[in-house]
């Protein structure tokens, strides 16, 4: 299934175009394109240039610190790491079943996190591309442009995100560095005042969730053929699934389907993930390339995240999201929807689901319960998996007799999409860049394809964002022959 643009036959004879760093994605990434003298794209790669050293950071720490410690791996989705680590430590402390209160409080926290993450991505990061088009003036193609042209949409994005943060704050105990989830359960439930506070605005959030889905559908259907074709790749898809096949982002088994929607595996106990998933390495990227073992590295790569989850599930348990899922699936005409831009559509159906799920949980008396923790005998191995906003997240720890972590393995969501993101940029290169002189709008299309996955390539550091976009053209002797820079003002300048 891999395209033929991963490795060129004679790369030394080709010109190299580097897009570095990517804008509107998190962390350090760059795209290199090798172009021959006739402007044909011969090689396209998304590189991850920072090695993060997660495992080393974790080893040697006591297991009970993990849910708090791992939040510092990433400033973008700390709650996902918090909960995945908590699930792994549940296993370490022998808590085979959480109390209803603990599970529902964690779910509430997770829905709040997913809501705020999806709201940020759509309203803040990608809606400018969709609302104004990929070749819109750069300066206009940002959140300020959205606010100027669609003030109500932008404000809704801010307030939806704020609401999700408030759910996190009240369930995790703190605004950031929360300690809500602990090995075997949670350390607090919600009191009446907290529930009333969240209920006050939830109907508005559900309505805005519906509006967001309607907006993305309107955008999508205005140029349906284009949106369905852009960066579209046939792929396997993997996600967590509930016991009855329902959409579930907190707990369940693993389901993988092939490009036609046929089942590869289903309801797999995630603690056995190593029997199904392998991690390949390539010498040009720090990020691993996971694949489904039974299909092999070439054919076994897959996509995770909203697109996979909505395609894979049999139904949503909430009525509004389920109604939207059915409409979404019709776009595939009997097959899964493979359009990369449909990630945005699926993401907003999930956002709507989160608002509905939060509304349901706020009416559930269990969230005020007092039985918070279960524990059993200490175990040597703990594996926690959930669906983070960007896709399936694996935390795997092994501890010694003193409870100190001596082995850790993390497969983060974006890593699962590594090969798929590479395939998407190759599709764009083939269809939109091949044979053309490279310009900023054309190069932005590469970034649009990557942004659809909402990748989180690194953690919050100051090494990012100094120069939002730099494009360097090298000849076959690796000499710089051209360079484009996008300044912090959004201005594009040719600097060589």
């Amino acid at each position: 299934m891999s395209s033929n643009l991963e490795t060129a036959a004679n790369p030394e004879k080709l010109e190299r175009i580097v897009i570095e760093p990517l804008t509107r994605v998190e962390g350090h990434g760059k795209v290199t394109l090798l172009q021959d003298e006739n402007l044909h794209i011969r090689q396209a790669r998304l590189h991850i240039v920072e090695f993060r050293g997660f495992e080393k950071f974790i080893q040697g720490r006591p297991y009970w610190e993990l849910p708090v410690l791992v939040q510092r791996l990433c400033g973008i989705c700390p709650v996902s790491h918090h909960l995945a680590a908590a699930k792994a430590t549940d296993m370490l402390v022998g808590a085979t079943q959480l109390t209803p209160t603990a599970e529902k409080i964690r779910r509430l926290m997770h829905y709040g996190q997913t809501l705020q993450s999806h709201a940020l991505h759509f309203f803040h990061l990608c809606s400018p591309d969709l609302l104004f088009g990929f070749d819109d003036e750069v300066r206009h193609r940002n959140i300020i442009g959205v606010i100027e042209d669609h003030p109500e949409i932008a404000k809704q994005g801010v307030l939806l995100r704020k609401y999700g943060q408030e759910v996190i704050r009240l369930t995790a105990g703190k605004r950031i560095h929360g300690t809500g989830a602990i090995p075997g359960g949670v350390n607090k439930s919600l009191n009446r005042e907290e529930i009333d506070y969240l209920q006050k605005d939830i109907e508005q959030m559900v309505q805005w969730g519906q509006d967001a889905v309607e907006l993305i559908k309107r955008i999508f259907f205005e140029q349906l053929d284009y949106h369905m074709a852009f960066a579209s790749i046939d792929s396997n898809m993997m996600s967590m699934i509930g016991a009855n096949g329902e959409f579930d982002i907190y707990h369940g088994g693993l389901r993988a389907k092939d490009a036609d929607g046929s089942t590869i595996f289903d309801h797999v106990d995630y603690t056995g993930y190593r029997d199904y998933i392998r991690e390949g390495v390539k010498n040009w990227s720090y990020m691993k390339f996971p694949f489904i073992e039974s299909l092999g590295a070439e054919h076994g790569w897959y996509r995770v995240g909203p697109l996979a989850r909505v395609n894979n599930c049999d139904y949503f348990s909430t009525p509004l999201a389920e109604q939207q899922r059915k409409l979404f699936m019709e776009a595939g005409h009997g097959r899964p929807v493979h359009a990369s831009l449909a990630f945005h559509w699926a993401r907003l159906i999930e956002l709507l689901y989160c608002t509905e799920a939060i509304r349901e949980l706020l009416l559930d008396p269990d969230i005020s319960g007092t039985e918070l923790v279960n524990k059993g005998a200490l175990q040597a191995c703990g594996i926690g998996v959930l669906e983070a906003p960007r896709g399936t997240l694996f935390h795997h720890y092994e501890i010694d007799d003193d409870g100190i972590v001596n082995k850790a393995n993390l497969i983060v969501s974006t890593t699962n999409n590594n090969q798929a993101m590479n395939e998407s940029i190759r599709q764009v290169s083939n269809n939109y860049l091949d044979g053309k002189q490279l310009t900023e709008p054309l190069l932005n299309q590469i970034e649009v394809a990557i942004r659809a996955y909402d990748p989180c390539l690194s953690c919050a550091t100051h090494a990012m964002g100094k120069m939002p976009l730099e494009i360097t053209l090298l000849n076959e002797k690796q000499e710089v022959v051209d360079r484009l820079e996008k300044r912090v003002t959004g201005e594009i300048q040719r600097t060589l």
Binding site: E148, K155, V158, G490
Partner: protein, 164 residues
Amino acid sequence: MLQQPAKPDLIFTWGNPSRGDDALGPAMYELLQHEALDGVDLLTDFQLQIEHAIDLEGRERVLFVDASTSASAPFELARLQPEQDASYTTHAMSPQALLSVYRQINGCEPPPAWLLSIRGYEFGLGLPLSTAANRHLQAAFGHVLKLLDPARPADRDEHIVIPD
């Protein structure tokens, strides 16, 4: 009460406590938490985001505190203006862009704001605060306390660079 009324002054720090000198912002937050500060709210986060525009509402003055890889040591203090820079195109915003979002969504000017940039050097995952950064933190902390001194005139310097 779940939401306390906004106090007149806000000090907003950010950074990752486990990312070496990126911890300068959160470290300043920790130091200030031990001070009895009247009329001052302290907030910290991993990074600035759009919803933080809401935290600026009802303030008279805002001081942002962050680590910097380019500020003169030990720190720089600069007055901020709303600016539509390109930082919103990443997952993290600049304080200038945040002020701009505030203006857009509220239809009015944001409160006066300053950025205290403390010079850092190493930002690797798992690294502690460097010795030099810690020294800069102490200097910056002392300066913040002076800024908060009610005896000090409200019209403060707009751009201060303290020699190391």
